[in-house]
Symmetry: C2
Subunit: 874 residues, 2 copies
Amino acid sequence: MKKYVYMFQEGNSKMKDLLGGKGANLAEMTRIGLPVPQGFTISTQACNLFYEKGEKLTEEIKEEIYTYLSQLEQETGKTFGSKENPLLVSVRSGAAISMPGMMDTILNLGLNDDTVLALAEKTQNERFAYDSYRRFIQMFSDVVLSIPKYKFDHILERVKEENNFMEDTQLTAEHLKEIVKEYKKIVKSEVRRAFPQEPREQLLMAVEAVFASWNNPRAIAYRRYNEIPHEIGTAVNVQSMVFGNMGNDCGTGVAFTRNPSTGEKKLFGEFLLNAQGEDVVAGIRTPKTISQLQQLMPEVYDQFIKTTEILEKHYRDMQDIEFTIEESKLFILQTRSGKRTAEAAMRVAVELVEEGLISKEEAILRIDAKQLDQLLHPTFEPRALEAAQMLAQGLPASPGAARGKIYFTAEKIIEAANNGEKTILVRQETSPEDIEGMYAAQGILTARGGMTSHAAVVARGMGKCCVAGCETIKVNEQKREFVIEGRVFTEGDFISLDGSTGKVYRGDIATIEPTLSGSFGELMQWADEIRSLLVRTNADTPADARTAVKFGAQGIGLCRTEHMFFDESRILSVRKMIFAKTTEQREKALEELLPVQREDFEGIYEAMGERPVTIRLLDPPLHEFLPHSGKEMQDLANNLEISLEEVKEIAESLKEFNPMLGHRGCRLAITYPEITIMQTKAIIQAAIAVSKKNNITIKPEIMVPLIGTVKELKYLKDVIHETAREIIKEAEVDLDYLVGTMIEVPRATLTADEIAQEADFFSFGTNDLTQMTFGFSRDDAGKFLKEYVEKDILEQDPFQSIDQEGVGKLVEMAVELGRKVKPDLKIGICGEHGGDPESIKFFHKTGLSYVSCSPYRVPIARLSAAQAQILNKR
Amino acid sequence: MKKYVYMFQEGNSKMKDLLGGKGANLAEMTRIGLPVPQGFTISTQACNLFYEKGEKLTEEIKEEIYTYLSQLEQETGKTFGSKENPLLVSVRSGAAISMPGMMDTILNLGLNDDTVLALAEKTQNERFAYDSYRRFIQMFSDVVLSIPKYKFDHILERVKEENNFMEDTQLTAEHLKEIVKEYKKIVKSEVRRAFPQEPREQLLMAVEAVFASWNNPRAIAYRRYNEIPHEIGTAVNVQSMVFGNMGNDCGTGVAFTRNPSTGEKKLFGEFLLNAQGEDVVAGIRTPKTISQLQQLMPEVYDQFIKTTEILEKHYRDMQDIEFTIEESKLFILQTRSGKRTAEAAMRVAVELVEEGLISKEEAILRIDAKQLDQLLHPTFEPRALEAAQMLAQGLPASPGAARGKIYFTAEKIIEAANNGEKTILVRQETSPEDIEGMYAAQGILTARGGMTSHAAVVARGMGKCCVAGCETIKVNEQKREFVIEGRVFTEGDFISLDGSTGKVYRGDIATIEPTLSGSFGELMQWADEIRSLLVRTNADTPADARTAVKFGAQGIGLCRTEHMFFDESRILSVRKMIFAKTTEQREKALEELLPVQREDFEGIYEAMGERPVTIRLLDPPLHEFLPHSGKEMQDLANNLEISLEEVKEIAESLKEFNPMLGHRGCRLAITYPEITIMQTKAIIQAAIAVSKKNNITIKPEIMVPLIGTVKELKYLKDVIHETAREIIKEAEVDLDYLVGTMIEVPRATLTADEIAQEADFFSFGTNDLTQMTFGFSRDDAGKFLKEYVEKDILEQDPFQSIDQEGVGKLVEMAVELGRKVKPDLKIGICGEHGGDPESIKFFHKTGLSYVSCSPYRVPIARLSAAQAQILNKR
C-alpha cells in the first residue's frame, strides 16, 4: 500500500518534493532534536491524488490520516474532542517551493462547544479559550466554507462599538462567548448547516480545503509569475497547537539569523507577547525587537539564540524562523532559508564561505543572478515610494529608478539637461534619432514597443531606466502632452519611473544611488575562476565599452556601426549616401563618413585594449536614416542639387512593408558593396593606427549580419578581404583579422555547415532569430504577447528568455552543423538573451564560446555562466 | 591513360554526358548506318580539364587530337593541309543539354592559301573555294581571335557597292580573292600576326575557343535562365565538311519529323539550294519548303524521307534534323528531339503512344509541365507581336496576354468595363480593396511587389494576366499617369501585357484565345491514373471553385475567408467589428457578417459537392481593412457614433511596423475569439444547409493559420469545438468536420510532433514559411532578389520554386515529426509552390498527401504529380 502520511520524525530535509518545504523542515528539526510541536504531514502525492479523484480525499487516505492522528494523540497525551485534555492542531499548506502567503492556514482546529470548555478549564483562562474559538470559527469558515471574513468582522466591530472598546483585548470572556454564538448563527444561515462540531470532520474538511487552495487564482498567478510548475502540488502539515496567546509568559515571533537587508551577521527579528502568529503578520500591534526578549525572558532568549545558531549551521544558510513561547517554553514552528536583498545575499554568501559553512560553488549558486540588477542601478527611497501615486504600468524594459520633468523630443531633453534639469523622455516610440536625447535623459517612457523594442534595447545598453509599451498612456507628441485616463500631463510635469517593475508614478520620488560592496567583487572573482563561458558586451561607444570593462567584460561581442550614423554631424553624409543616384555620388558621401567612422573605432579599440572587438557591418534598412521634416528634406535637396520632389520620391521608394524582412543587413551590402568597403577601411585603418600608437596587437572581428545562404557571406568576404589586404599591404604591417557572421536567419541555422566553411566565427543574433522563428515582430508583439502569457499560451516572453524548445532547437542545430565542419569554431551570442540567466545556462550547455550582453548585464552574465558551469558538472 | 577523344563510331546515344548531345547523336547515327560525315568528339571531361588548367589544352589532349585526326584522314582519304585532297572540318560545341545558338561554331577549318587552290582545283569551282575561304577567315577571326564581324562586313559591302551588286552571289572568284586578301590584312592589323596557315594550329585554336565560349556571358545567362548546371561543360565535335554550296546539285536544310507548332504528323522543314547551313539560319535568302525537294531531287527526297522515319523510330520522338546535300549526295549533320509548343508536345506524345513507340509514362515525362500555361491562357498573335514596341520588363507574375486601356483605380476600371471597354489596371501595388477592379480588368500591371505579392497571388488565382514589380515605370496614381523613361502614359492609353514573360508593350496587340485539344484530356487522364499525390485548389469564390473543378481539382486546399470581407456591402460591418470598443459591439458587427459569410460558404460547397473544402480562418492583420479616405472614416464614425478623431486614433493604433509578423492569424483569433466563433458558425451552418439541400455528405476542414505553438491550436480548437458541437446538436444532424492547422511559422515545423497531437491535418503555408525562413518580406524582396539571382547568390527566386535545402529541410522535419505522432496524418501544401513542377516533385518525395494551387495551375500540378510518381519509382 502506498504511504501518503508521515509523522514529523519519519522525515528529513531531503524529502521536500514529497513533504513540501515546511514539512521537510519540521521533520528535519524534529530529527535534530529541536523543540518542535509534534505532528504529521500529508504528502504532495496525496494532493495530486486528490485532484485526480475530482477534488476528493480517498477513503484510503482518510484512514491513514486517522491512524497518524491516533499516534499524535499518543505522543502528545492529548485527544481529539476530549473534554479533559483536548488536542488542538494547526493545518497548513506547504509546497516544495515556498509560496509565502499564497495558500490557506487554519489554527486551533479541534475546538468545539465542548473542547472550548476543557481548554478554559485546563488553562484556567476562559477568555483565551473563547478568543481561540472565535478565531477558529472565522478562519475555518473563511477557508473551508467560503464565508467572507467581513461578515464576522461586522459582529466583532458591533460588540466593540456597543461597549465603546478600542482594542480587541478589551473584550471579556462573556463578550467572546456572545460573539461565538453570533458567529455560529452566521455559519448556519450562510451554509445551511451548523458549524461542524466533530474534530475529525473539521480536520478532513480543512485538509481538503488546503489542497483545493493550491488552485485558487492567486496561487496560480503566483506560480506563473515565479515560474513554479503547477503539477508539483502542496503537502498539508497537521501540527499540535502551542499557544502564544495564553498570557504574558507567552508570545510569538519571527527572526532572521542575519539582517535580510544588509546581510550583517546579527539576529534580526520581532515578536509580540500574548499573541498568535497571525497577529504578527496582520500588523495590528507594533511588535518588539528580538533583543527586548532578553530582558523579558532571559532563559528563553538564550535557548532561542542557541537554537538559531544550530539551525544556521545545520542548514548552512541564513534562516527565517517562526517561533512561539507557551508559558515560558520555546517552540520552533518553522525554519526556512530567508528571503534577502541582493546586497544581503552577496554578503551572506561570502561570509558563509569565510565561516567555512559553504563552498565557493555553493555561494555562487545561492545568488539569484537576476537580483544583481538591484545592485547596479538607483532605487527609490522606500518611504518616499510608499507615499507615491502610481499612474500606469508598462513593461520593465531597463532597470533602475528615474525621476524628472517630462519632454517629448530629444532636442527639448538636451536643452533642459543643459540647464541642469533632470528629465524623462516620453515618446510614442523611440527611433535611432532619439539617441542623444536618451543619453541626456534620466529615464525613458514609451507607449508602444516590447521588451526588445528600440527604446528597451538602447536603454539597457546605456544602463538607463526605461519603461516601454505603457499602452494606457496616450502620447500626443505635437501637443507635447500625454493623457492617462483623462488626466493630462504636459511638458515640464514631474514623473518617476521604476524600470525594474515597469511602474510609472506621479511626481518626483527620492532615489538612492547603488553602492557595490566588497562581497560583490569577491563573489565575481570566484565566478570568473569557475566559469568557462566567456562574457563579452554589446557596446557601440567608447563610454559603453569602458563601463563594460569596469563590469568585467572580456571583449565586445557586438558593436553596432549604425548607431554612429545618427550623430547630427554625420547624418547628412549618411543621407547623401542613401540618396546617391550613382555609385560615384555614393562613394563620395562614403568618403566623408570614412574618417568619422574610423575615429569611432579608434575610440573603441582604445577602450578595449587587446580584448577582442566584434564589429557588425551596417544592419538596419536605409529608410531608418531618412529625413522626416520638410527642412531636413530641403537641406538634403540643396546639398545633393536635386529637387525636393525628387528627395520625396526617393524617400517614398525606400519605404518597406516589412522593414524587418526587407532590404537590410548583408542584402544592403551586396547591393552597395561600397558601404562595406568604407566600413572595412575604417575598421582596418583604425586597428592599424591604435595598434601602432599603443604598441598592442589588435585583431578586429568583422561580422556580416543577416546571412541566410553561404553565397552571401562568400560574396562579401571577397569584398572585405580585397579591401583589407590592400590596406594592410600598403601600411606594411602585420595585422590579423577575422570575418564571421551573425546567425540570425532560420535558414542560416539550417545550412550552418555550409556557412561554417566560409566563416571564422558565428554569433547568434537571437533577437532576430526569435522574431523569425516565431514570426513575431518585436515592435508589434506587445499587442498580443502579454495576453499570450496571461492565457498560458506562452510560459514567458520569448524575447526575454530564449525559447529553448523552438528557437533553441535551431541554435543547437547550427552549433552541431558548424562544429561538424570546424570543430574549434568560435560561437557566441549577442542577442538580448546574452544577459538572461536561464538563457545563459542554455548557451553554456549548448557549448557556446561566449555570451555578449549590455554593459550593465555583464555581472549577471558572469555569475550565471559560473552557475551554469557548476550545475552542468553536477 | 584517360581517354578524351572518341571517333563517332566509338560512341552511342547514351554517352551524352561525355560526348554532349550532338556528339552522342552523331555517334548513334553513325552506329545505325546513316550517312553522317565522319569525325570525332573531344569530350566534356576535356572541357573541365581545360578550365582546371587555366583555360589551356594539355599536351596529352593535343596529342590525342592529332591521333584521331590521323584516323579521320585515313577514313576520308583526305589530308589536313594537302595540296591535292585537303581535309576540311567543322568545329562545333555540343553540351549534354541543348543550348541552341548559345555557343560558337566554325566551318571550313583547314583552308589556307594552299588548300584553297586545291579545293578550287578539285571542285573545279574557284568561286566556291574562295567564298568558303573568306567565310572561314571571318568566322575564325570572330570566334577565335575576337575580331568583330562588322570589320569584315564593311569590306564585303564596299566591294559590292563598288560593283553595284545587290547579292553576295553576284561576287565573282576574282572579287572573292580580293576580299580574302583584305580580310587577311584586317587580321594582321588587329592581332599583330598573320592569319594562321597551319591547319593543326587552326584546329587547336578553334577547340580552345569553343571550350572558352562555354563561359561567355550569353551562355552563362542561358544556363541560369534554363537552370542548367555550370559544371557540366561542353564537348567539341570535329567533323569532315560536306558542302551544300558547291552548285545547284547541292543544298542544306532543316526539318522536323512532325509539325512543331501543332504536332501534326507531317514532315515540316525548309532548305536552300547552293548554300551552307549558316545561310539558312541567317535568313538571308528565303528558303524552299521541304516538299519542293521532291520535284528538284526526287531520289534524294526519297532517301531523306526514309532517313527521317528511321530516326523518329530510333529515337522514339519527333526529330529536328539538319542535312546537307553535296553533289546530290545526302548527309545528315545532326538530329535531336525537336522543340515544340505545348500543343504540339501534347499531340506528339499522345500519338507516339498510339503508334506504340512510347509508353504512357514516357509520354507524361515528355511534357514540360511549365509549358502547359500556354494552353490555358490567351497569347499574342505572333505577327502582331513582332511589330510591337516593348516599353518595359517586369516580373512574369501571372501568365497570359492582355490588352486594354489603362486605369489607375478599381472604380474607374469597373466603370470602363461596364461600358464594354477592355482595361488594364495599373497600380503602384494592389491591395485587397482592388479585388473587384482586378476581376473587371483584362490584366494587371504593378510597379512594386514580387512574384508572390498581392497582385501576383490574386491574379494567378483568377487566371488573369499580371506583370508585377515593373520598377522602371513610375506610377502617379493621383495624376492618373505613369512614366517610362520620361514618356507619359495617361488614363485611357492602350498598353498590352505578356504575363508569361513580364513584358509590357505599347498599344493594342491582337491576341489568340487558347483551345484545349483532345490530346490534353487524354494525357491528363493518364496522369491521374498514375499519380498518388492529390491535387486541390486555392479558391475563395464559387466561380474560382468551378473553374478549378473543370481543370480537375479534387478539393479545395485553401479557401481564404478574408477576401470575402472586402466586398463593398460588407466592409462597413468588418470595420465596425475592428473599431468596436467592447466585445458586445464586436459581436453585433459579427452578427451582421454571419449571414453573408454563410452564403459565401454555401456557394463554395455547392460548387465542390462532396469534395473536401479546407477553409482558413481570418488571417491578415486587421489594418488591411481600415478606411483610407476621409469619407470612409466619417461614414464609420457616424455609424459607430464616435468622433472622427477617435476613428483616426484607433486606425493609428492598428498600424504595425512589420504587419507580416504582427497581430494576425491565430493571434487575432485568440485576442478576439468572437471572430472565430462567427466563422465557425458560418462554416458549420452552411455545411448543414447544403448537405441537406443536395442530400450529400459535406465534411468541412477548418484550418487555423499561423500556429507557432501547440497551445495556440489547443485554445482555438476548444473555441471551435464548443461552437460547432452546439450548432450540430441543435440542428439534430450528423455532421463531421476536421480542425487542422497551417504549418507556416518555422517554430511550428520544429514542434510539429506536439502540434500533431491536436491537429486533424497539416497544410504547409510555404509562402510565409519561405518569408520567415529566409527573413524575406515577399512584398519588399523585389528590391534585391533580382540582383541575388543575377549575382548567382540564389539559383532561383525561392518564392517561385521551394528552397529544398533550407525551407525544404523544415518541411521534411515537420512531416517526420508529425507522422511520428500520427502515422496517417493528412498533410498538404497550399502555398504558391503547390503549382510549381519542381516543388511538386519535392512534395511528392517528402510524402505529402496533396498539393493545392490556383485553379489555372491545377493541370500543371496533375501532370507534375504523375511525373514525380514515375521518376520516384525509377
